[in-house]
């Protein structure tokens, strides 16, 4: 990671980069939500479909099993028809030959069972028209057979061979019909078994497909979640990195600012020193010039006395007026320049001074400031009030003292002529910041000059008071130095309120920096 890239170009696109990141992340989140929802829905739908299908297949299977069972029942009854027919025959033979039948049953029993079997087949095959037709024919044949048997029994004698043959034929017809019905049932059974097997097969296929689908959805979800988590982690890491870089950039920027500030301080200091040096010459040689006026004046006077025609008016004026006037202007200008340079020096020195925070009761500080100015206050008849409750700060005593005394001094200095001066000093604390306000009823400051008055060498309003425009610049520099701000609220002729906003507790690390500098 190259810090230089961060220091210069990096910072400018931080917010944009972060916004992009956020948008991408949000979009990704939405997409992820949609995908997961889709997958989960798909999965649940698959499981539901599988369940439903399984239930249907199961129900159908049950149905089919029932049908198979039914077919078996029909088969059994058809077999019973065949069996009872045989019984009927043997019972008739037995009764005819007067011997007990094989089954020991009477013909009546056998025939009753025969008809019952036919009836039950009829009942069982209600749904099958083919079998119903067969049953109907069977009934007709059975009745005819039964009456034939009954006739043969009643007669007690052997009947004609013709009737015997007819009976035989009918019996075999019944037999054949039963066989046909059996065959039909076997056919049905085959179909139904096949259908059952088919549905089971389908069931398994569907189950397999659903299983596959569930597995796919599961794997898909896991994959998507994993990928998303990965992305989340990556972007989290990136965010962390950005955050670290930002801190680094801020630290670097702070150091840069500190360095720039130090540079300005040093610059101001060196410049003011080097400006002073030529000033010494200007003032020194001006004094030399001034000193040489005296012998010149003496000479002029002497010549004037002895040889008045030699002295021109110009020469006299030059010595008596022009020279002193020029020297006077040079003097006042250099003196002013000296004051300005001293002001820069003082500000620069103030910036280098070590701040020593201590506990300050602003009430006492304000009292001290007012006491120092008491002489002028009494002279001008100004009423100064200090609020009863003033905040307590931890800050630099000298700086606070200078801020307050500059503000009060200004309030005294710029009173409205003809209006008794009133100055109120108050203070309050809110959110860890103390606000010290100095309010006056003086001549006020035009709103357009509100920023200007804090600039070095700038003044506002009538220039009827001595001063270089240093006080408020100094106050603002001090306030900044203490981590505070200052503003003014004023209108022309309506007084002014200067509010200094300071941290209740001076941030110590800056002081330490300064100490290590000194």
């Amino acid at each position: 990671m190259s810090t230089s890239a961060l220091g210069s170009g990096g910072t400018s696109h931080y917010p944009r980069g972060m916004a992009n990141e956020a948008i991408r992340e949000r979009r990704g989140e939405r997409q992820f939500g949609r995908t997961v929802l889709l997958l989960v829905t798909l999965g649940f739908a698959a499981v539901l479909a599988a369940g439903l299908f399984a239930a249907t297949v199961l129900l159908r299977g049950q149905d089919q099993a029932q049908w198979v069972d039914h077919t078996h029942q029909v088969e059994r009854q058809v077999m019973a028809i065949r069996l009872t027919l045989e019984e009927m025959r043997s019972a008739r033979r037995g009764e005819v030959l007067r011997i007990a039948g094989d089954s020991g049953a009477t013909y009546a029993d056998a025939s009753a069972r025969f008809f019952r079997a036919i009836d039950s087949v009829g009942r069982l095959t209600v749904d099958n028209p083919l079998q119903q037709r067969n049953v109907a024919r069977m009934r007709v044949l059975a009745k005819r057979l039964d009456s034939m048997f009954a006739a043969s029994l009643l007669s007690g004698t052997a009947l004609s061979t013709e009737s015997e043959r007819e009976r035989q034929a009918t019996a075999s017809q019944v037999q054949m019909l039963a066989n046909r019905m059996l065959a039909e049932e076997v056919r049905l059974l085959d179909i139904r078994t096949a259908a059952q097997r088919e549905s089971i097969r389908i069931f398994f296929v569907v189950l397999a497909v659903c299983g596959g689908l569930v597995a796919f959805v599961g794997f898909g979800s896991v994959w998507v979640i994993r990928r998303y988590t990965q992305e989340l982690k990556t972007s989290g890491d990136q965010l962390q990195l950005l955050n670290d870089n930002l801190e680094l950039a801020v630290a670097e920027r702070t150091t840069d600012l500190q360095r720039a500030n130090d540079e300005i301080q040093r610059f101001a200091y060196i410049v003011s020193h080097d400006l002073r040096s030529p000033l010494v010459n200007v003032m020194g040689f001006t004094a030399e010039l001034d000193a040489s006026i005296k012998p010149l004046t003496a000479l002029i006077e002497k010549v004037d006395e002895q040889l008045p025609e030699l002295v021109t008016n110009e020469a006299r004026l030059a010595v008596t007026e022009d020279l002193p006037e020029s020297i006077g202007f040079i003097r006042t200008s250099t003196q002013k320049m000296d004051r300005l340079i001293n002001a820069i020096l003082r500000l620069s020195r103030e910036g280098r001074r070590t701040i020593t925070p201590e506990r300050l009761d602003m009430g006492l500080v304000a009292r001290g400031v007012v006491d120092n100015l008491q002489h002028r206050i009494d002279e001008l008849g100004v009423a100064v009030r200090i609020a009863s409750s003033m905040p307590v700060l931890t800050s630099d005593r000298l700086a606070i003292d200078q801020i307050l005394s500059n503000l009060v001094e200004n309030a005294i200095k710029y009173l409205k002529p003809g209006r008794p001066g009133e100055i109120d000093i108050s203070g309050s604390i809110a959110h860890g910041r103390a606000v010290i306000a100095v309010k006056d009823n003086g001549r006020g400051i035009e709103p357009r000059d509100h920023e200007r008055v804090f600039d070095l060498f700038r003044r506002s309003g009538m220039q009827d008071q001595p001063g270089e425009g240093i006080g408020l610049a100094h106050v603002r520099a001090l306030a900044y130095r203490l981590g505070g701000t200052i503003n003014v609220e004023s209108e022309l002729d309506k007084g002014a309120i200067f509010r200094v906003n300071l941290p209740v507790r001076f941030a110590g690390e800056k002081a330490k920096d300064e100490e290590s500098d000194a």
């Binding site: 020193h273 000033l279 003196q335």
Partner: protein, 147 residues
Amino acid sequence: MNATQAVNIVMIEDDEGHARLIEKNIRRAGISNPIHHFLDGTSALHFLYEDPEGPAKSGPALILLDLNLPDMSGTDILAKIKGEGPLKRAPVVVLTTTDDKVEIQRCYDLGCNVYITKPVNYESFADAIRQLGLFLSVIQVPDVAEH
């Protein structure tokens, strides 16, 4: 004490105007000792240590030193004079525009005898130099190392 030997005044001052003003005021204070003026540190050091007429080779000397010189820092010259060598007892008067506390302390730490800030106000400047002149008239300057 060698009273017959004149004390040389070595003035190291890059500003000719200042040098002239200083000289004038010293003369006004009634000091007539020879004043050797140097505009930069290199030639001054050469005179102090190498020149046959320089204080290291002959006669006692008093040094007026400005701190802001074009080629080297006045404090470096001060450190050299006050370090080991024939001139370590020679009185040094630092006469400069710098009134920074740290700088003043540093000069005294290095062994400067008097530190005077040049006042911009000419009256006080002239006054300071005159007083320096009075001071110079009573000061006892040690001989350089015997040879």
